[in-house]
């Protein structure tokens, strides 16, 4: 029995290697750096748990939300949108040509949400009371309540969507068939749920018109957040596929570069369209709220950097890449757009918040806050690699028919 377990462990977890071989195979410089980042993150987590938010962060009564909400939640969830965009494209619009991107997209959504919520636990003062929210203490008038519930539901949905790959790995054919059947329904509900809470993250700030800078505050905040999550999701697929096709090249049998480029260009078309719509809405909002006067201020310049440098410019670059069939340009622009979404979320959460404050009273993250967030990102990447190396994420499982 013990031998049996051991062989299962060796086969499934150690990729068929002996303990010593496996340890040797993971002792790479990259893993060493990741391990170091994770250790630092864990030290900060322990420090936060023992000493509290005051010593661990730069948060104050004036800045109740800082880097952990801005980066881990607002940025993290926006960048975890690939499951939403690809799920919609393939399962609802029937764009089957993209089905190769679906499993990586769902995995990144699943891990993105799980690790965002994990990081959030350290920001919550009484993290151990999360069940109150789901169980019996319902604040139905709160946007945050909607988000809390939607996160929970969406993680369940992502697990269902991902579980066919899990059961293929465990070789449990019956479970796999069952979950494969319900996965499409999970995807459909996932689209509704994800759309709801992506917009709700913007909706959170509707409550603070006096605190958020007028250039960022808008009645369209939920629409902006949803739209930008859509192109963030598409661009994350471009970015991830660029990275994973480099890193996991060995897993891709009969990989066709021309086909991959064509799909990347297809994604670029969608990104360009959603970026243009977003840009037009942004300008419309600027005109509608008559905020032109703010443009000629420090905050205005920063706003223009965000909207022109990271929305209009990538939109034009995507359009140009699509016209000229330049997949490389589209990949680069994917990175640029993702960076722009990160900038936008941090602007809303930190930079434009309490904008009337003098610079001396403004919040900036403490090193521990950044260390914890980066540690969680490193954990996510390690978990992603761990799963991709073991399960049929990048390719179809040889023993099973295609799930799509």
């Amino acid at each position: 029995m013990a031998e049996n377990t051991n062989s299962w462990f060796r086969e499934k977890i150690l990729l068929g290697k002996s303990n010593r071989d496996y340890i040797a195979s993971i002792a790479t410089p990259g893993n060493f750096i990741a391990g170091l980042i994770i250790i630092f993150g864990v030290i900060v987590m322990i420090y936060r748990l023992f000493f509290g938010l005051g010593p661990a962060t730069n948060l104050t009564d004036n800045y109740p939300w800082g880097f952990w909400i801005g980066f881990d939640i607002l940025v993290g969830i926006a960048l975890a949108a690939p499951g939403l965009t690809l799920g919609t494209a393939v399962h609802l619009f029937g764009m089957k040509k993209y089905h190769h991107f679906v499993r990586p997209a769902i995995l990144s959504s699943l891990l993105g949400y799980i690790f965002a919520v994990f990081a959030l636990l350290f920001d919550l003062g009484r993290y151990y009371r999360i069940p109150y929210l789901i169980g019996w203490s319902w604040g139905l008038s709160s946007v945050l309540f909607l988000i809390g519930w939607h996160f929970t539901l969406y993680i369940i949905i992502c697990i269902i969507e991902w579980s066919p790959a899990l059961f293929e790995w465990l070789n449990l054919r019956k479970f796999r068939e069952f979950f494969n059947k319900i996965a499409i329904w999970a995807t459909i509900f996932g689209v509704i749920i994800a759309g709801g809470h992506q917009s709700a993250l913007g909706g959170l700030y509707l409550i603070a018109p006096a605190k958020l800078h007028p250039l960022w505050y808008s009645m369209f905040l939920p629409v902006f957040f949803l739209l930008s999550a859509i192109f963030a999701g598409i661009c994350m697929v471009i970015v991830e596929s660029t990275i994973t096709h480099g890193v996991f090249k060995g897993q891709l049998k009969n990989f066709n570069q021309a086909e991959f480029d064509r799909r990347t260009i297809g994604l670029g078309t969608a990104a360009a369209a959603s970026l243009f719509i977003y840009f037009i809405l942004k300008i419309f909002d600027l005109a509608h709220s008559d905020n032109w006067a703010y443009l000629n201020t420090f905050y205005g310049f920063w706003y223009l950097v965000e909207v022109i440098g990271f929305v209009l410019l990538p939109a034009m670059l995507f359009a140009s890449g699509v016209r000229n069939g330049n997949a490389k340009l589209i990949r680069l622009t994917g990175f640029l757009t993702v960076f722009g979404v990160i900038l936008n979320r941090l602007n809303v959460a930190i930079f434009a918040y309490n904008w009337q404050f003098p610079a001396s009273m403004k919040y900036y993250p403490k090193w521990m806050e950044i260390s914890l967030s980066i540690g969680v990102v490193a954990m996510l990447i390690v978990a992603y690699r761990f799963i991709v190396n073991r399960m049929a994420i990048m390719h179809d499982h040889p023993d099973y028919e295609s799930g799509h």
Partner: protein, 342 residues
């Protein structure tokens, strides 16, 4: 010399230690020492919540309020002392509070806000009219339609029938969204409690006023700045005062309509934004700001979901038919089947 050096080392090490080990909250406190930031273990909010649970049904629906006439305040800060005393917040001898007004270097040199260990603060502003100091007491405004209440995702706030907004610490998860939502920056947080941090705020002395008494700050005030009474009566009184002395007051009662009206009302001799009361917060109750969105998203999810579900069902069954009709046609050009075997 050696003592001096030792003393110097000790001090610089303390300063270095404080700035290394602590974040902005302490750094902020170092310029502006306010020990109430570090306060933990507040009991007043929980106590008042329990009392509210007991009494809420029996309360008469008469909204009380307090009228604060900032032109009368002498800056003695006794209200701060009395508040700390009554609510068991960390306190100092009352003389230290009273001394501030005559000190060259005092807490009045910086504008303060409420922190974990104080529910009320008095700030000093210089009048644009005559250059004299104006003292302004701040505390929770006890909104008629409170933003904190609507923002709370575990429903920890209640507006008592007689006016106070009370907080239920026993369900609070510590998300601090109420601090984002509050237009008056009232709720504070026990950042230095690692295990059981609470939101703290003024309770309007619910325990006192529901027994027929007045709030602790109102009771101790030696200058008659605050008048406790029914909100409607207070508004009449405020209009009377403005009418009788239009030279003394500006023609505005802060809190009458701000964010839909508040229980605490203010009179002033200069525009309110000059004495730290924000005039850009509008008349719309804060909960209204998110209500439309919440209805919208729920409508989308309930109404919009069905076309999506049926559309998808249609698409799936069509694909299945196609797959049954012939595997070649569904396999397309990539040599990969979708929904079909290969």
């Amino acid at each position: 010399m050696s003592i001096n050096r030792r003393e110097f080392l000790k001090r610089s090490l303390t300063i270095a230690g404080t700035s290394l080990l602590s974040g902005g909250a302490i750094a902020h406190a170092a310029n502006n020492p306010d020990p109430s930031i570090f306060s933990t273990g507040n009991t007043a909010n929980e106590k008042n919540w329990k009392l509210w649970v007991e009494k809420s049904e029996a309360l008469a629906p008469v909204k009380y309020g307090v009228l604060v006439d900032t032109t009368l305040c002498i800056g003695c800060r006794r209200c701060e002392w009395a508040c700390n005393e009554w609510n068991n917040n960390p306190n100092r001898p009352v003389k230290e509070f009273e001394a501030s007004v005559s000190q060259q270097k005092s807490v009045f040199n910086a504008v303060r806000r409420m922190h974990a260990g104080n529910f009320t603060v008095v700030n000093r502003y210089i009048s644009s009219k005559d250059g004299k100091p104006i003292y302004v007491k701040r505390q929770c405004m006890h909104c008629d339609d409170p933003g904190c209440l609507s923002s709370c995702f575990v429903d920890a706030y209640r507006k008592a029938k007689n006016g106070p907004v009370v907080h239920n610490a026993s369900v609070c998860i510590g998300c601090r969204y109420c601090m984002v939502a509050c237009p008056f920056d009232v709720p504070a947080y026990e950042y230095y409690a690692p295990l059981n941090p609470q939101i703290t705020k003024c309770t309007f002395c619910f325990d006192r006023i529901s027994k027929g008494s007045v709030p602790a700050c109102v009771e101790i005030c030696p200058a008659g700045v605050m008048t406790f009474g029914k909100r409607d009566d207070l508004l009449k009184l405020a209009y009377e005062r403005i009418g009788m002395r239009p030279d003394r007051y500006i023609d505005h009662i802060y809190g009458e309509n701000e964010v839909g009206g508040t229980s605490w009302l203010y009179l002033s001799s200069v525009p309110f934004h000059e004495i730290g009361l924000r005039t850009d917060i509008g008349k719309t109750p804060i909960p209204e700001l998110t209500k439309g969105y919440l209805i919208g998203v729920k409508m989308f999810e309930i109404v919009g979901a069905w076309p999506l579900v049926f559309g998808a069902y249609y698409a799936i069954s069509k694909a299945r038919k196609k797959a049954n009709a012939g595997h070649e046609s569904s396999a397309e050009t990539e040599g990969e089947g979708h929904g079909g075997k290969h």
